[in-house]
Amino acid sequence: MTLIDLANPTRFLALTARVLPWLAAATVALLAIGLYQSAVAPDDYQQGATVKIMFIHVPNAWLSMFVWGVMSIASLGTLVWRHPLADVAAKAAAPIGAAFTFLALLTGSLWGRPMWGTYWEWDARLTSVLILFLMYLGLMALWRAVDDPARAARAAAVLTLVGAINLPIIKFSVDWWNTLHQPASVMRMGGPALDRSFLIPLLVMAIAFTLLFVTLHLAAMRNEILRRRVRSLQMIQASRIAFSSELGAGPREGSASKGAGTA
């Protein structure tokens, strides 16, 4: 049977139960500070107040890549060390990563609307994030398509690692494609020359969102472990039914035929 080793996850569950409240509290506190700081941050002389969108856009864009990195490490764990928690970590991260990537796209296009006059521009960065988003969705579809989690885990791990290798290539090609068509450079979002008054709230928000991801990820991993436990218990239940019915076939049969007769 492909039951995951239950000893390790059990210890992991105990750890999670202890750590989660603290993590959640830290996330809330840091988010509050970050939100306050971004609220009081001054307006940009060029972009005005819309620069505030950056404070959620950039952390989400950062997370969209960070989560893929986490999944890649987990995939290595699946393929190389065959660690049972690695599958769980990779699976639990995918929907969260997709959600953050979606937010990065959404806030990016809301930021772009005042700047470009259109919600969507085939700008190199946004386009790369869009492709990343599609890859997240594909990965989630892969997890959903296969019923046996162990088999799905290996396939997903291969795909994640291939994606990790391919992402820079995709980014490079998209950049090249973009400059080919649009020599006039589009406004660069969140360029490196950032004023301290923007940098600090941005950093706080980035850390807060990263903590938020860690919290959600741990909680989702716990759910996934429980889900696998339910699954393996159901399989045990199925294997025991044959056993019990051998003992109980006689009397039950009588009651059923009686029921069928009266119906």
Binding site: W122, G138, A145
Partner: protein, 222 residues
């Protein structure tokens, strides 16, 4: 009536559960549409001109590719035998299956259209027009595609063969679907004429599809 409702409910349930393919169709649609600008370039004016055509092609391919296993799965596990023997006419059962497929795989395509319209720089009116034509036209795609799915059971082959069989049948739907959306966006034709033809095509396929599929299935059950 309960029989058909039960069939629709079961098919939707399977499509949405783990292993079901309903949402993969939307993802395919999304991917195909996102690929287009890489081929034609990110020029927004060009994209908005091609937008309706791109969306229609994407929806056409997505709805046909997910149709592949409409009857095949039921054939492989023996359900189709029981469906053919039941007191429900096979034509109605086929129609119910196609309807369930459209609800689970076709409707999400239409819901995704506004988002994709945004990517292709379509304005509100254009997006609305494309969504409306898709709403009227995708039932025709599903119900003609169903014939191919039934033939796939008869021939014991699915996949590309089915696509090759069905794609020519869906040309009229494509013509009038794109024509109606273009008419709504740039004119000069009126929206009404191609749109009513599109609706007529859907209605015809609603009638013809189930009969043709059932006829094909009846000979394929050995």
């Amino acid at each position: 009536m309960t029989a058909l409702a039960a069939l629709i409910r079961r098919d939707i349930r399977i499509a949405l559960r783990v292993g079901g393919g309903a949402l993969i169709g939307v993802l395919f649609f999304l991917t195909v549409v996102v690929l287009m600008p890489f081929a034609v370039g990110p020029d927004l004016a060009l994209l908005s001109r091609l937008g309706p055509a791109i969306l229609w092609l994407g929806a056409l391919l997505a709805s046909l590719l997910t149709l592949d296993r409409l009857f095949m799965a039921d054939h492989e596990d023996g359900s189709l035998d029981l469906i053919a023997m039941s007191r429900t006419p096979l034509e109605l059962a086929c129609a119910a299956k196609a309807l369930a497929h459209w609800l689970a795989a076709g409707l999400p395509l239409i819901i995704a259209t506004p988002v994709l319209g945004l990517l292709l720089n379509l304005d509100m009116v254009a997006t609305g027009a494309v969504a409306l034509t898709l709403l009227a036209g995708t039932p025709a795609l599903t119900f003609t595609g169903m014939i191919g799915a039934a033939l796939a059971v008869t021939l014991h082959r699915g996949g590309l063969l089915m696509a090759v069989l069905v794609l020519p049948l869906s040309i009229p739907v494509l013509i009038f679907g794109v024509a109606a959306s273009q008419a709504a966006i740039v004119g000069p034709m009126s929206f009404g004429a191609p749109f009513s033809i599109l609706c007529a095509l859907s209605l015809v396929s609603l009638v013809v599809g189930p009969f043709a599929a059932a006829a094909s299935l009846k000979h394929g059950l050995d």
